[in-house]
């Protein structure tokens, strides 16, 4: 079998940022009609490599070949002209604009005199949305969609024109299973058209499901390429982090259950969710599983004082409380790792240390001033614990890789030592190694007597860490499972609202 010539070849790419050598002589190639996975830990340089391809960054050294011809890509415009489309890891959307305008950003169909050809636009977007199974229209304001739907619109950009190379940078980080299926269909179609696809993800099962080859980066250097069919998770993990992991082992070792920390009764908030009741005990992890839009995030936000409940009671350690604001929630020992790290979790222009200590800054003082040493100590502790990769604590959070940003958010709330820790999609965009580390950490915390709520759209995650799982559908709790008795089928049924029998 002769292998087709690669559509794209990268040779010896080097890129440095102040204090970091993000890429150190990386080679990489993509053939037409293949799905090529790019893997590596958080901060390994995957996004950087792809941004170089897309003309966002310029390599310090190295060459890019397209169809065996050397090219220089100076800007996104040129990348586009070379037939390269990058679907960014972080959403790259104009929030106030319509879905259609966003999908065709930079290439709106024109009529004479530079007028927008709305008719063509709507037609083409309509077709694309149909392909994506979208239940929203081309004229919807994109900012009013949930993150998952926004992500789908971002993905839709791959379909606007015939590209030679499409790069998906962690497209599934905020998608649920239903949308993933759609995405994989899209990828199949592109593949059939002979488009070369680069697929970045931390989720092994996806990688093994859809990719043909896998390349691995580690600390900015190229580790090799394997055929997907000829390898397994363990080998890849070895290449990525230099050791094996015991993955997907169901946690069965329950912590000793303690006092009831939180009890929620009939909690409602308008149309967002209704009549939610449950309890969480010290030492227990309760997983909330559901489809996007099930209202889990809103429930968590209500517990954290960010929304005013329209009905119901919240009890902390048996005592009824009213939580009017996040600062009151924090006082009462609640922490929330929010869903959207960029908007809700981090001050991107602040350094790593300051972000981590932000909620407790009032307690870290020496006289009137912030105690520098205490702060750095906290940072160091969580940097080690969560393996945060940052040059120094002075590095601005905005220049960290996506996964490392997420770790900063987690570290920030763990360091509060809360009674009740709520984590919303805690491992979104986190590499396998750190993910299992975080899961381990959550278990450890439960053992130490924390009460923990995990909201997640990833079934393995929920299954892996929870003592109990609560399924939500459409703003209501449909069923509660204990970790020992849950099956994947039941769970799927419960979150899609197919069964209405409420188990206690």
């Amino acid at each position: 079998m002769t292998e087709p010539n690669p559509t794209l070849r990268l040779k010896g790419i080097v890129k440095t940022f102040p204090g970091v050598r993000a890429l150190d002589g990386v080679d990489f190639d993509v053939r037409p009609g293949e799905v090529h996975a790019l893997m590596g830990e958080n901060g390994a340089g995957k996004s950087t490599l792809m941004k170089i391809l897309a003309g966002v960054y310029h390599p310090d050294e190295g060459q890019i070949f397209i169809d065996d011809r050397p090219v220089v890509i100076r800007s996104p415009i040129e990348a586009k002209e070379h037939g390269i489309t990058l679907i960014h890891q972080e959403l790259s959307l104009a929030e106030e604009m319509s879905v259609a305008e966003n999908i065709f950003l930079g290439e709106l169909p024109r009529k004479k005199w530079g007028f927008v050809d709305w008719k063509t636009l709507d037609e083409r977007v309509g077709t694309i949305l149909q392909k994506l199974n979208a239940d929203w229209g081309p004229r919807t304001r994109i900012g009013s969609l949930s993150i998952a739907k926004q992500q789908m619109c971002e993905i839709a950009r791959a379909l606007t024109h015939s590209a030679k190379i499409v790069v998906f940078d962690e497209p599934t980080a905020s998608l649920t299973d239903a949308e993933k299926v759609v995405l994989f269909d899209v990828i199949e179609d592109l593949k059939a058209e002979g488009v070369g696809i680069v697929y970045i993800s931390h989720r092994m099962e996806e990688i093994f499901k859809i990719t043909d080859r896998i390349s691995v980066l580690r600390d900015g250097s190229y580790r090799g390429t394997l055929n997907t069919r000829e390898t397994d998770e363990d080998e890849i993990t070895q290449m990525m982090i230099g050791r094996s992991l015991e993955l997907h082992r169901r946690n069965i070792e329950h912590a000793e259950e303690g006092e009831e920390v939180l009890s929620v009764e009939g909690l409602s908030c308008g149309r967002l969710f209704q009549d939610v009741s449950f309890t969480v005990k010290a030492g227990e992890i309760v997983g909330f599983y559901g489809l996007v839009g099930a209202g889990r995030t809103e429930m968590a936000e209500t517990l954290f004082g960010l929304r005013r409940p329209t009905a119901g009671k919240i009890r902390l350690a048996g005592e009824e409380v009213h939580i009017g604001s996040p600062s009151e929630a924090i006082e009462k020992g609640i922490s929330l790792v929010p869903e959207n790290r960029k908007e809700q979790g981090l001050v991107l222009g602040m350094n790593c240390r300051d972000n981590i200590t932000l909620p407790q800054i009032d307690d870290l003082t020496a006289g009137p001033f912030v105690a520098n040493g205490a702060e750095v100590a906290i940072y160091d502790m969580y940097r080690d614990r969560l393996q945060i990769k940052a040059p120094t604590w002075r590095t601005l959070v905005g220049s960290l890789s996506g996964g490392n940003q997420q770790k900063i958010v987690i570290g920030k709330w763990l360091s509060m030592k809360p009674r009740l820790l709520i984590v919303d999609e805690p491992t979104r965009g986190i590499d396998v190694g750190s993910k299992s580390e975080i899961h381990k950490l959550l278990r450890e915390l439960a053992h130490q007597g924390y009460a923990i709520i995990v909201v997640s759209s990833e079934m393995p995650e929920v299954l892996h860490v929870s003592d109990r799982i609560i399924a939500m559908h459409n703003g209501r709790i449909t069923r509660t499972f204990s970790a020992d008795a849950v099956t994947e089928e039941d769970l799927i049924q419960a979150i899609s609202g197919l069964t209405s029998d409420k188990a206690a």
Binding site: S325, G345, L348, M350, D354
Partner: protein, 330 residues
């Protein structure tokens, strides 16, 4: 510049330059003027410039805090007119001490109105403070009946009120001392206290700040009190320096102050910048004005040169930060 930064190679030195672009601009500028302008680098002149810059400088300190938290304050100019007219007018009526007290309370009350509207009602800071600019100007005129106010000439040389604008300690002019002392205090607060951290957080990402348990409303409210406080202090200096006031004395200060703040490198979007840089920013402005006056350029030539120098200075600053001369905008 870009080539220079590129060749240095040493990461630390690069970082140092990147963080201090505006200082370098300042030094370059001072040397150039020192060589080109007679008497520019004399002690008397330097002292004069810093002294006269102190009024804008003190206000800029407060406005920096507001800008850091992601808002604007355009009402400082007319608030300065208000404060100065009031403190000068009250000097003869109820005495300097009580006058200062009443004026400070009044100015802080105006700041509180800004703060309530912007912090708690979440109204757009540009329009609110622009509205306040107009309203306070009106209030000042109503208060004074549109007339100039003066401190009784017979007491001008004897009142202790003269200390703030005309006094000196150990040979250093009082306005300079007040300016630098206040800069140190506010600079420390902003850089090293939990309060300062909250201001940066609110400016950098208000949503994330709230999610971190920061009471955003209060922080924003408080920044307007700080700003008003600084305007009050500036009013005292100005009143004491001139021993009189006009209703329009502060007109146009809002933009000058903002120019100084931004020139220093504080981002209009909030969340980044520092008091020290603001001090440098206003000093650059002050020295430009002074240098060009010493050169005896006609006023319009001064304006044109100021245009060029401001843009060059800020350009140098942002270019140092990003490590290349031209912007990455395609």
């Amino acid at each position: 510049m870009a080539a220079l930064v590129g060749r240095l190679g040493n990461g630390d030195l690069k970082g140092l330059i990147a963080r201090n672009g505006i200082f370098i601009a300042f030094v370059v500028f001072m040397i150039a003027f020192g060589i080109g302008v007679d008497r520019f680098l004399t002690f008397q002149n330097l002292e004069n410039v810093v002294k006269t810059t102190a009024i804008i400088g003190v206000i800029a300190l407060g406005v920096t805090v507001v800008v850091l938290s992601g808002n604007l304050d355009l009402s400082v100019g007319s608030m300065l007119s208000f404060g100065t007219v009031m403190v000068v007018d009250l000097h003869d009526k109820i005495g300097p001490g009580a006058g200062i007290l009443v004026m400070m309370i009044a100015v802080l009350a105006l700041g509180a109105v800004n703060g309530l509207l912007i912090g708690f009602l979440r109204l757009n800071s540009l329009i609110v403070t622009l509205g306040m600019l107009s309203a306070i100007q009106g209030l000042t005129l109503i208060y004074s009946g549109g007339k100039n106010v003066d401190i009784d000439p017979s007491t001008q040389d004897t009142t202790w009120f003269r200390v703030f604008g005309r006094g000196e300690i150990a040979g250093v002019d009082m306005p300079i001392i007040i300016f630098f002392a206040l800069a140190v205090v506010i600079g420390m607060i902003v850089a090293y206290t939990p309060y300062g951290r909250r201001v940066y957080a609110v400016g950098g990402n208000p949503t994330a700040a709230v999610f971190s348990g920061i009471r955003r409303n209060r922080v924003v409210f408080s920044t307007y009190l700080v700003s008003a406080f600084c305007v009050g202090i500036a009013s005292i200096i100005l009143g004491s320096r001139v021993m009189g006031s006009q209703n329009t004395v502060g007109q146009g200060y809002e933009l000058l102050v903002l120019a100084g703040v931004i020139l220093g490198g504080t981002s209009l979007l909030g969340g980044s910048g520092s008091i020290l840089k603001t001090v440098i920013g206003v000093l650059i402005l002050g020295f430009i004005q002074n240098g060009l006056l010493l050169l005896g350029y006609p006023f319009f030539a001064q304006w044109i040169v100021t245009w060029v120098v401001i843009i060059l200075a800020v350009w140098l600053d942002v270019a140092a930060k990003r490590g290349r001369l031209l912007s990455p905008i395609a």
